[in-house]
């Protein structure tokens, strides 16, 4: 125990640098995936065959390729075509795009769960498609989407560690570097695990809060 505390004092400051990158990647890809996911979901429910077809195809392609391969593609392959990103940018874009597929499915499920009578009521007061979405469907779908959204946030936090494969020195990679330099595997990876847990705790509480709130009539 004594040894662990001494190790903690030594390693935590270095690991916290990794935490910063972990948070940056998580928040960045959360924003990207949310916006993209909304676009796919809207295309999917637009009622326009071409748009929903494009969206469905894209979602299936994204879902069918491992995140790690998508990251490699963006970081190592795109430069061959003259498009290059820093490791952090590639991580945010890769995770954001990969997760946009899951976000889109969550959003679509929430939108389709809205009572058809709501849409008819909106049409009856003369609203067009976009106004119906903005004023009637999305505000209600938003609440229904919150609990799954919280779960996606937790998964993204943990999956941000995949950015380590393209050299982003986030929490997991920092841990691995320290561990291989000091051989203090137990201390280091226990600290890393605790830090992920501490980071996800507020998210877990948020999900529970959302679920309670949407459970209310």
């Amino acid at each position: 125990m004594q040894g662990f505390l001494a190790d903690a004092r030594e390693f935590v400051p270095i690991l916290l640098q990794g935490v910063q990158l972990t948070i940056l990647i998580t928040v960045g890809s959360l924003v990207v995936s949310t916006l993209l996911g909304l676009v796919w979901a809207m295309m999917r429910v637009s009622g326009v065959g071409l748009l929903s077809g494009i969206s469905a195809t894209f979602i299936n392609v994204i879902r069918g390729i491992p995140i790690i391969v998508q990251l490699f593609y963006i970081y190592f392959v795109l430069p061959d075509f003259g498009v290059s990103f820093t490791a952090v940018q590639a991580g945010i874009i890769g995770l954001g795009v990969a997760y946009s597929a899951y976000q889109a499915e969550n959003f679509r499920a929430a939108i389709e769960a809205i009572d058809k009578g709501q849409i008819e009521a909106a049409q009856t007061i003369g609203m067009g498609w976009w106004l119906t979405m903005r004023r009637v469907v999305l505000p209600q779908a938003f609440r229904a989407a919150l609990p799954p959204y919280g779960n996606v946030m937790i998964m993204m936090l943990k999956d941000s560690s995949q950015a380590s494969t393209i050299t982003v020195a986030e929490l997991a990679l920092q841990g691995k570097l320290i561990a291989s330099a000091t051989f203090k595997n137990t201390s280091v990876f226990t600290l890393v695990a605790l830090m992920y847990l501490v980071l996800s705790l507020p998210l877990i509480l948020a999900v529970r809060h959302f679920e309670k709130r949407t459970g209310r009539p």
Binding site: D115, G117, Q118, A121, Q123, G126, M127, L131, R135, P139
Partner: protein, 243 residues
């Protein structure tokens, strides 16, 4: 104001409307009665383009109703609708439900819309409940909010699709009372209903629909008290004396 000319509609191979010709004049109250599955609600929903029809023509103020055309939005503002299940926006207060259309569809200022919204809620007996959300209101109160929401669009006519069928019996009266007051103020109304008493008291004319055709139509009292057609007689007997 509303004209239906040989309107036909099928769901796949099943015909629901087999040539409906009828009209509603400005200021007139017309009730549509008939057994379930007779096409009453479908007919109503075709009038403001919630459903499409396959043949014939529906005109509102002389303009053809075509749900695929942009003009349908203007038609829907002219002909508002009240639903069986109210369909209030649950995430908005009573007042917000009423002012939603005036502000976002008609572009009225919030102050102007709110003042009128409060007046309308008072008119349907809901002064003081402006800030209530739909789940906090009884079915009868929700339906009266829905009527205020329809009125807020300043429609030329209102369609009512079985407005009291989802209500507890003791709440039916308050909604019918509001509708009667509307009729007396000269609102044009097309009402699908099972409330024969309301039709007899308030309607100018009654259409009896069965199997997708108008079996009988005429002045409300005449059709409801001395029906000519045996199917009308049979239907009224069953509705008025269920035992």
């Amino acid at each position: 104001m509303i004209e239906l000319d040989d309107v036909r509609k099928s769901y796949g191979a099943v015909p629901v409307l087999k040539g409906i010709t009828a009209s509603v004049a400005r200021g007139e109250v017309v009730c549509v009665i008939g057994p379930s599955g007779s096409g009453k609600s479908t007919l109503l929903r075709c009038v403001n383009g919630l459903e499409s029809y396959d043949g014939g023509a529906i005109r509102v103020n002389g303009r053809r109703v075509d749900r695929a055309d942009r003009s349908i939005r203007a038609v829907r503002v002219q002909v508002s609708m009240v639903f069986q299940r109210f369909n209030l926006f649950p995430h908005r207060t009573a007042l917000e439900n009423v002012i939603e259309g005036p502000i976002f569809v008609k572009g009225e200022t919030r102050a102007e819309a709110e003042a009128r919204g409060r007046d309308l809620l008072a008119r349907v007996g809901l002064a003081g409940r402006e800030e209530a959300r739909p789940p906090q209101l009884s079915g009868g109160q929700q339906q009266r909010v829905a009527i205020a929401r329809a009125l807020a669009m300043r429609p030329d006519a209102i369609l009512f699709d079985e407005p009291t069928s989802a209500l507890d019996p003791e709440l039916v009266g308050e909604v019918l009372g509001v509708m009667r007051a509307l009729a007396e103020d000269g609102m044009t109304m097309l009402v699908v209903t099972h409330e024969i008493g309301f039709a007899r008291e308030v309607a100018d004319r009654v259409l009896f629909l069965d199997g997708g055709v108008i079996v009988e139509q005429g002045p409300a009292r005449r059709v409801l008290t001395e029906p000519e057609h045996p199917r009308t007689r049979d239907f009224l007997r069953r509705v008025l004396n269920p035992l």
